[in-house]
Amino acid sequence: MLASLHLIRSVELLISEYYEEQIFRCPVHLSIGQEAIAVGVSLHLTVEDKVVSTHRSHAHYIAKGGDIFRMLSELIGSPRGCCKGRGGSMHIFDNSVGFMASIPIVGSSLPIAIGLALAEKNLNSKNLVVAFIGDAALETGAFYESLNLAALKELPILVVLEDNGYSTFSNKSVRWPASKNVKETIQGMGVTYFHGNGDDVEDIYKNISDIIKRVRSYEPILLHLETFRRYEHCGPNLDDKLGYRSKTEIESYLDRDPIKILELKLVDSGVISKKNLKDLVDQINDYVQDLFTSMKDQNRDYLTKFRMSN
């Protein structure tokens, strides 16, 4: 669990670090702060289970068992990428690990997820489909059309709503009326609703065992988890200085960091020593750095292709 969180974080920090070098030549939407949801949910999934993601796809892909080498190759636009460089960060597809699609048009992933789930039901499988969405998806028509179909057809779909409160720079307060009641909206459509905290990966993992079982028995469920996006909407940087998020809010993110929460628990309960923890993190960072180096080496032919000089 901790290793998964660190692995995702390490890959994304590396993307952030090297982004200025113009090696990753596509828009990136980092999941830093939101990793607990991807990990907590995906630990319940088999390779045969299907995942559909959004523009913020890295954490979901890695948590589903995605190939980081091929993902990084995709981000540099290489033909060795998981989509031959045609998709980039926003369109990661790899059905070999059940990561069926990343759909960056908000809300549009859901109709496709519904089709995947209907196929699983038609095939009498016990596989489920997980559709990760953000809070802005609730503002699209596709969301309501899809939930209606999920309930009508009793599909094995778990919609995981990662509610980070922002659509680019827009807070929910300018997008949702104060009286909006998500729970009643979802339940009123005939879809089971659960709400929880998205920061504590252990809690998420433990609390959804039953939910996963119910979805496998063809009960569509929406799991609403509160989370936060540490970095800017699109790009490699922090954007604290822009001021659209208050200082208090940004400071609160420090205590909500999923990695920090889990590490505190594990160290306090004596599961891991601080020394071992540091070794683990170092090992993961070295592993990711080595992957990156060999990825660059193997793609040297490609990387020199579009440079004007040197």
Binding site: C82, F93, D94, A101, I112, G141, A142, E145
Partner: protein, 357 residues
């Protein structure tokens, strides 16, 4: 045995559902008593509501659902009783369905069909009479077909369902009552080939779908005036059969195009451009284009008469444009005698030619 266009579509569905358990049919009206103008009649009873089913009025989600099913190996056919309804699902069609195969690095084949019926007449008006073949032909990743005759409807529907790419199937409502003999052995080489309906050496007429019927009428009228018209039925719009067109124009040196959509930025402009590029010094006259003007289709029957190009007006223009040596009055007289209106009103389908084609 003679069957109508809709009966042939029904037969194509029936055979595909029978032969391949991955074929699914859905859309508004598929399972109701109207059965999409009879074209899906009895199929739900025969194959069950899991494979042939009604959808909620959620065309966008149902279209994305078709994509999800296709990604899992099913062969869904999603249908619209009016092509105009599909515009609520253009996000799924243009951003997702057309691009999934490409942007996933070819890990998926997307074998799905979106059947769109084009309305005309009897007050269909601005939002129930559009043919979007040019719009969807503009999008890389989509194939677009628009068969003209009942047997073509049958063969092309089967080929569309068996095709591994997304296919937009354009079907004109006014063709539904056309009839064709099933023992008429029609060999369709492949989904992308055009078909020469009538050979000729004086003028090439190129059209699609219901427009082909009108071209055939014009060709028959002109035949009586000793003009030999070659009528090309495109059948496939994207991709379209450039070779067949070029070969024909090389022979006739004169081209007339008839579209069932608007003229501007459409099918006739695209085909004209290719002909001008390939045969600029060869053709004897500028290309003559017919289609709909740049106004929404009116609901009013009286206004619609002027909206659609009438055969009488087309005969007049053909003579003036190419300088053919015939009397327009005589041509119109032949037309009226040869194809007398069987319906009382001109805004109802009056096919005249019912096959064999």
């Amino acid at each position: 045995m003679s069957l109508t266009y809709t009966q042939y579509i029904n037969r194509a569905f029936d055979e595909c559902l029978h032969d391949d358990p991955s074929v699914l049919l859905f859309g508004l009206g598929v399972g109701d008593i109207g059965a999409v103008f009879g074209s899906t009649a009895n199929l739900q009873t025969k194959y069950g509501a899991d494979r042939v089913f009604e959808i909620p009025l959620s065309e966008n989600a149902a279209t994305g659902m078709a994509l999800g099913l296709a990604m899992q190996g099913f062969r869904p056919v999603m249908m619209h009783q009016r092509a105009d309804f599909s515009f609520t699902s253009t996000e799924q069609i243009i951003n997702q369905i057309a691009k999934t195969s490409y942007m996933s690095g070819d890990i998926y084949k997307i074998p799905l069909v979106i059947r769109m019926i084009v309305g005309r007449g009897w007050g269909q008006g601005p939002t129930h009479a559009q043919s979007p073949h040019a719009i969807f032909s503009h999008i890389p990743g989509l194939q677009v077909v628009a068969p003209a005759t009942p047997l073509e409807g049958y063969y092309l529907m089967k080929e569309s369902i068996n095709c591994d790419n997304p296919v937009i199937f354009i079907e004109h409502r006014w063709l539904h009552q056309t009839v064709e003999q099933s023992n008429n052995k029609l060999i369709l080489p492949n989904i992308c080939k055009a078909r020469i309906m009538k050979p000729g050496s004086d003028l090439t007429m190129i059209s699609l779908s219901y427009g082909v019927i009108e071209c055939l009428k014009i060709a028959e009228v002109l035949a009586e005036l000793n003009l030999k018209v070659e009528v090309i039925n495109l059948r496939s719009i994207q991709p379209w059969d450039i070779n067949t067109v070029i070969q024909s124009v090389t022979k006739t040196k004169k081209v007339m195009l008839l579209d069932i959509g608007h003229i501007e930025f459409g099918l006739t402009g695209e085909i004209s451009s290719v002909i001008y590029t390939e045969l600029f010094n060869f053709i004897s006259h500028p290309i003559l284009r017919f289609g709909l003007p740049m106004e929404p289709t009116p609901s009013s029957a009286a206004l619609a008469i002027d909206h659609y190009p009438s055969i009488e007006k087309m005969l007049q223009k053909i003579k003036n444009h190419f300088g053919f040596n015939f009397e327009v009055e005589k041509a119109i007289e032949i037309f009226v005698n040869k194809f007398p209106y069987k319906t009382k009103h001109r805004d109802q389908p009056d096919i005249g030619i019912i096959g064999p084609f």
